[in-house]
């Protein structure tokens, strides 16, 4: 007899022994299926959890911090996205938060872009892995608010964040800012570049990269702004910036490789146009790469990043506690340690709240980056449209 035939006979024999009968089997099977379906329905699980926690308030000041901490601890987890450990010292911020409040953090997709952060909020809606908070560039913060992705929340220190760096409806708040710099590997790059004009020289062939594509990455968009300022454009006209990159690509200097800590360490991207806090962090992090930072002499552009709480956050209280931590003195000083300019910098300096050890560790070049120009939200939105239409057209050719 075939194997399966034997098994079939065995099964029917045992069935007969138990005097199960087909109708009983069917009935029990249906009951099990119904039971499993009900238990596995996400709505049932979520409803049970939702009853446990009331809605968090819109203003952080309306709630005792201890109550926020307790509610966050009960949620038990925080999901963050696109926060590389060496980006504005997020590694230390995450570990300090977890140690201080006892809430583990899941850090997803560290090399992700601002566009991917918004997209994750949309596509993971209802999933417990969805991001609770996002840290996006202003154009994507505006896009996110337009799509209704964020919840309103005014952190306790909202008042001391500069007016130009926050949304009055409380949908996002600027957490730190930086300016565009040129970082380079002094082992590979023998002649230091000093400006955007320099970077077009043939000695830098196949060496110039950015932190992603300006279609998706806030840092790369800023690179285009800076290139525009260096080439006769302005904050309202980034066309010359796209043209500069097209020229750099045609010359073979600009390579479409995304700068990550890995490519910096390995030498795959010997020159990187990126935020000052990233480039300064690489100096400390990769001594073997002999990384040096230069502020471009012809185009200085700065921008801030925006913290927002997801409207569909799976852990709403933990998300708000994270905001409180980031905008507290401790959080802002941790940003400063990562060479980012914290949003409440002026306030911290006025209150003499920054320890000497932190200020003395800041590189001289960082302190000199005062001449950077900042674009308004309107200018950034306009630039996004120009970049989205011109970049694929001008740089898509091989």
């Amino acid at each position: 007899m075939e194997d399966f035939q034997e098994q079939e006979y065995e099964f029917l024999r045992r069935l007969d022994e138990e005097r199960f009968g087909r109708s009983t089997l069917l009935k029990r099977g249906l009951a099990t299926a119904a039971g499993l379906t009900i238990i596995s329905l996400p709505e049932v699980a979520l409803a049970a959890r939702a009853k446990a926690l009331a809605d968090p308030p819109i203003r952080g000041t309306r709630q005792n911090l201890k109550a926020i901490v307790a509610a966050a601890r009960k949620e038990g987890r925080l999901n963050v996205i696109a926060l590389p450990p060496d980006w504005a010292n997020y590694g230390e911020i995450i570990s300090t938060f977890t140690k201080k409040y006892g809430i583990p953090i899941t850090s997803d997709n560290p090399n992700g872009s601002s566009a991917e952060e918004n997209q994750a909020v949309v596509s993971l809606k209802g999933d417990p892995r969805a991001p609770d908070v996002v840290d996006v560039s202003p154009t994507f913060a505006v896009a996110g608010t337009a799509s209704g992705l964020y919840a309103r929340y005014y952190v306790r220190n909202y008042a001391s964040v500069p007016r130009s760096m926050k949304d009055t409806r409380g949908l996002w708040t600027g957490d730190y800012y930086g300016s565009v710099t040129i970082g380079y590997n002094a082992n590979v790059v023998k002649t230091p570049p000093k400006s955007f004009a320099d970077l077009l020289k043939p000695i830098y062939k196949n060496q110039v990269a950015m932190n992603g594509s300006p279609l998706t990455s806030g840092s790369a968009q800023a690179g285009v702004f800076a290139a525009a300022l260096a080439n006769g454009g302005s904050l309202s006209n980034v066309g010359p910036g796209v043209d500069w990159f097209a020229k750099a690509r045609a010359a073979g200097n600009y390579i479409p490789v995304e700068t990550t800590p890995q490519t910096v360490a390995s030498g795959q991207t010997p020159i990187s146009i990126d935020w000052d806090y990233n480039n300064f962090a690489y100096v400390k992090e990769f001594p073997s790469a002999n990384w040096k930072v230069v502020i471009p002499s012809d185009g200085q552009y700065g921008a801030h990043y925006c913290q927002a709480v997801s409207a569909t956050a799976p852990h709403p209280w933990a998300a708000r506690l994270w905001q409180e931590f980031l905008f507290s003195d401790q959080g802002q000083i941790l940003y400063l340690k990562g060479f980012a300019h914290p949003a409440r910098f002026t306030d911290l300096v006025a209150r003499k709240a920054i320890p000497k050890s932190v200020t003395s560790a800041l590189p001289a070049a960082w302190l000199n980056s005062k001449g950077a120009k900042f674009a308004s939200l309107g200018q950034q939105a306009k630039a996004k449209v120009v970049i989205n239409t011109e970049w694929p057209a001008k740089l898509g050719k091989s």
Binding site: E116, L215, Q268, P392, A393, L395
Partner: protein, 274 residues
């Protein structure tokens, strides 16, 4: 039959219908031809189609040629049996080894600081990147695609070559035909329908490759249709999402054109079998 129809409906008909209907819908729910005309008018999208077709044709034809030669060499009587089984096993893995792992493997080998790049630099003193080669250029992408196209061709054409009976080649030699005459009148006509079908398969395989192309080019170095669709779907640009549907519909049109080209050729090639 019901399970088959259910399967075909869910995985074939429904997605295709969604794309085809969505291509003609506008953002507010009405029907419009604007998506299609928009695609035809945008130069960047026309370039992307041309680039995709070009790369797909090159890798399909080159992959077909090399795959055929390798398959014939591995299967013919003179070769030991272990060669065929070893290469068949390797092809089974390599034909499906695509996407990000493949892109990373090639970047580690032939990237700007890849092992082979550095080897060539140290041994021959030539920096291939200074001479115009780049893993994210058209040539680089074609090279990477060939890695899975050639094994796929081998897998598909091996049964057809098995069908070339040794008796035919012996009989033709007996009757005084040269090797060239054997191939011209017997070998190629027998194999041609299968080769044609395999090349079409390779074309479709290459045309739809997304993850490999995206990882190699970081999504920007080369305009390709799957990358454009990916951009529309991942919220990177705020263009009309129905543009993604229209782009996919365009891919259907290209592949349908290929089929129109293939069917009469197939019919003509199979004439000898009647």
């Amino acid at each position: 039959m019901v399970p088959f129809f259910a399967y075909a409906a869910m995985f074939l008909i429904l997605p295709a219908a969604t794309v085809m209907i969505g291509a003609f819908q506008s953002a507010d729910g009405g029907y419009t031809l604007d998506n299609i005309t928009g695609i035809v008018k945008t130069e960047n999208i026309r370039d992307a189609y041309w680039e995709s077709i070009r790369i797909s044709l090159t890798t399909a034809l080159l992959g077909g040629l090399f795959g055929l030669m390798i398959a014939y060499a591995a299967i013919r009587k003179g070769t030991p049996n272990w060669v065929r089984s070893a290469y068949g096993t390797f092809s089974g893995v390599a034909a499906n080894f695509g996407g990000i792992p493949l892109a990373f493997a090639f970047i580690a080998t032939l990237g700007t600081i890849g092992i082979v790049t550095q080897l060539i630099q140290n041994v021959f003193g030539i920096n291939i990147y200074q001479h115009g080669f780049a893993i994210w250029s058209r040539r680089g992408v074609e090279l990477v695609y060939l890695y899975f196209q050639i094994p796929l061709m081998f897998l598909v054409i091996a049964p057809a070559i098995d069908g070339l009976r040794a008796e035919w080649s012996e009989a033709s030699a007996n009757l005084g035909a040269s090797r060239w005459q054997y191939w011209r009148h017997i070998g190629m006509p027998v194999l041609f329908p299968s080769i044609l079908g395999a090349v079409i398969l390779l074309f479709g395989n290459s045309f739809a490759a997304y993850a490999t192309a995206y990882s190699l080019t970081s999504g920007t170095a080369l305009p390709l249709v799957p990358i454009l669709i990916g951009n529309d779907l991942s919220g990177n640009v705020f263009s009309n999402p129905h543009e993604g549907h229209a782009l996919a519909f365009g891919m259907f049109v290209v592949l349908a054109a290929m089929m129109l080209f293939y069917i009469p050729l197939q019919r003509r090639a199979s004439r000898w079998a009647k």
